[in-house]
């Protein structure tokens, strides 16, 4: 089963993404901040990371950079979520190593489409 880690500090949004992705046949892990996200990636080796950028402890940009620096997670697909909807934030996300991004609020279908697109690019081994 394809395993997705969702790192998002907003409880409701975490729940929504969880419910959506579970209903679509994914196995879901949840993290409420950047530190937890880094830990869970290490322990559980997810196939994809959905990463909120504005998070406490360690923010999404730093999570992405840290993952890109380590050889074992360099290729992990990362989908960033941002609430700022400004070109600059999105660019920063890509520069930090995220593969693509969605601006909040997003349509759930777009989230599914992006996830499938990113997974196809790097199919699970």
């Amino acid at each position: 089963m394809t395993r997705i880690l969702v790192a998002e500090d907003d409880m409701d949004l975490r729940q929504i993404i969880h419910d959506l992705l579970t209903a679509n046949g994914f196995e879901i892990l949840l993290a409420a901040d950047g530190r937890e996200a880094l830990l869970l990636v290490k322990q559980n080796k997810p196939d994809l990371l959905v990463l909120d950028l504005a998070m406490p402890e360690v923010d999404g940009w730093h999570v992405a950079e840290a993952l890109r620096e380590s050889p074992s997670t360099r290729k992990l697909p990362i989908l960033a979520l941002t609430a700022y909807a400004m070109a600059d934030d999105c660019e920063r996300a890509l520069r930090a190593g995220c593969d693509s991004y969605l601006s909040k609020p997003f349509v759930l279908d777009d989230l599914l489409v992006e996830i499938h697109r990113l997974l196809k690019r790097t199919p699970p081994a």
Partner: protein, 520 residues
């Protein structure tokens, strides 16, 4: 935040820097009598020591002094205490000395021997100058806080809205069980309203950025007819549901150089309004080359309800809807036209409307976007937001800092002034990039994990291909003697970094860039 406008005037604190003891005594005595608070220094070192204890409003600095001369004292003093206004006093008033002093930041000069009343008048003028500067700073700060507030609120509003629409979507998808038909209808209405709310939030953000003159255009070259088709297609289904005809006529192969996203927003607003306010007939968008070589004229025409002549002046105002009653027939935020007008003005264009009630309206946009960027570099002069940048060729700034907030602050602050700003988050990335580009200005954080700012500078020392005309470095740590010596030779300026006062940092950098620019 202290409001300088409300604060009571207190005694003017004056520092007299003069090597003549007699003159110091005389000024101490007579200025004190006139209500000034006086301190005296016999040379530059004494002056700086006094200023370190408490700030002065005005300093009167003698030019001819043994050891350090007045210009040197003035330069150092002004660098450390930029808020103090300095009046230089000179015994042999050559114009050159005076000009030199003014260049180095003096407020004014006075020729010895001078009348006390003349000196006092100059000091009063200097105080007034200070007060005005403080007022402008304060207003700029208030405006900045307001824009920041709107941007933060915008973010805060988006998060709960995302959860609301997310749950509604999941409910509609049946993720929590099958729903009765009526419940689905209601959920659809919630979804529509959430969409309206998001549109409003986006508009407010745009409007606040436009009002603060913080909206930056990113022009590109593209085919105008493609964009027009895109807009028409997006509105087609809505028009069809109202049985309206949609026409679009654009000259084939007309390329323009403009901010595509923002031009699209304007077209979408105007065409969207046309569809919204037309009950039968047609809406049409056309474009043609206008009067001069760069002018493009867009016409958006409808057979809608029209606008009464008396209402036309209200049309482009923020939050004004012509029918603002609760029962009004047409919903909307009333921001679309205000934003469109501001966007077109930013592009140095104009927008106007011709309308006959119950017959229809035509919006006419004239904007200088035809052709290619080079032909039009001078067209921005009389734009308020861009007046300062008109004579400045865009200079490339590269910011290296591991703190994304610092990068974002630079990017925001400097692109406003017409700089092309790029930022990178690590020293390693910086070294790679500097092998490819030569920024005009490099702003480099010294303290970064792994590859530090010093490492970047050393890499540049080793590789002659890596260069930048001007280098600023930032540090929030005490530098060792060795480090200071190295930097003194290597970089233009060492900035004291204060992570908690990014605005102060931006102001310092802007000021420094301003002097570089004037010097060049």
């Amino acid at each position: 935040m202290k409001n300088p406008i409300d604060s009571k005037p207190s005694a003017c604190k004056v520092l007299v820097i003069d090597d003549e003891p007699g003159l110091r005594q005389m000024l101490q005595f007579s200025l004190k009598k006139r209500g000034y608070e006086i301190s005296c220094a016999a040379n530059g070192a004494e002056a700086l020591a006094l200023a370190a204890e408490h700030p002065f409003d005005v300093a009167i600095c003698d030019i001819m002094m043994p050891g350090q001369n007045g210009i040197e004292v003035l330069t150092i003093f002004k660098e450390r205490y930029p808020a103090t206004e300095i009046i230089v006093a000179t015994g042999y008033a050559t114009l050159e000395t005076a000009i030199e002093a003014m260049k180095n930041g003096a407020f004014d000069y006075i020729t010895k021997p001078y009348r006390l009343s003349h000196l006092c008048a100059l000091m009063d003028k200097a105080m007034e100058h200070r007060r005005l500067i403080a007022k402008v700073d304060h207003l700029e700060e208030v405006n900045r806080l307001k824009t920041e507030f709107v941007s933060t609120m915008n973010h805060e509003l988006r998060t709960p809205l995302t959860s609301m629409t997310g749950y509604v979507e999941l409910l509609l998808r049946g993720a929590y069980g099958k729903l009765p038909e009526r419940a689905r209808e209601i959920l659809n209405r919630i979804e529509t309203n959430a969409g309206t709310l998001l549109g409003l939030i986006n508009n407010i953000l745009d409007l606040s950025k436009l009002s603060a003159e913080r909206m930056v255009l990113s022009p590109e070259t593209f085919a105008l007819d493609d964009l027009m088709k895109e807009v028409v297609e997006a509105l087609e289904s809505l028009a069809k549901s109202k049985k309206l005809q949609v026409r679009c006529r654009a000259p084939k192969g007309l390329t323009v150089y403009a901010d595509r996203t923002k031009l699209r927003q304007v077209m979408f607003n105007l065409m969207g309004n046309a569809v919204k306010f037309t009950l039968s007939g047609h809406v049409a968008m056309s474009a043609q080359k206008g009067g001069d070589s760069t002018d493009v004229e867009l016409r958006i025409e409808d057979t809608g309800i029209g606008i009464a002549a008396k209402d036309i002046p209200l049309l482009f105002q923020e939050f004004k809807q012509l029918d603002s009653s609760d029962t009004r027939a047409f919903k909307g935020t009333g921001l679309g036209l205000a934003i469109s007008k501001k966007l077109i003005t930013l592009m140095n264009g104009t927008i106007r409307v011709e309308s006959v009630p119950n017959k229809g309206s035509t919006f006419i946009v004239n904007v200088p976007i035809a052709g290619h960027p080079v032909a039009r570099s001078q067209s921005n002069d009389d734009l308020p937001g861009q007046a300062l940048r008109a004579d400045v060729t865009v200079r490339h700034v590269l910011v290296i800092d591991d703190d994304p907030q610092v990068c974002a602050a630079f990017s925001e602050a400097l692109s406003q002034d017409g700089y092309d700003v790029q930022s990178l988050s690590s020293g390693a990335l910086a070294i790679e990039r500097l092998k490819q580009v030569r920024p005009d200005i490099l702003i480099l954080d010294l303290i970064m994990p792994k590859v530090t700012g010093f490492d970047v500078l050393k890499a540049m020392d080793r590789d002659a291909g890596m260069e930048s005309a001007t280098i600023f470095v930032m540090s929030d740590k005490e530098l060792t003697r060795e480090e200071s010596d190295y930097l003194e030779k290597r970089v233009a300026w060492v900035l004291q970094k204060r992570p908690t006062d990014l605005n102060g940092l931006m102001r310092d950098v802007k000021k420094k860039l301003g002097t570089l620019r004037r010097g060049s």
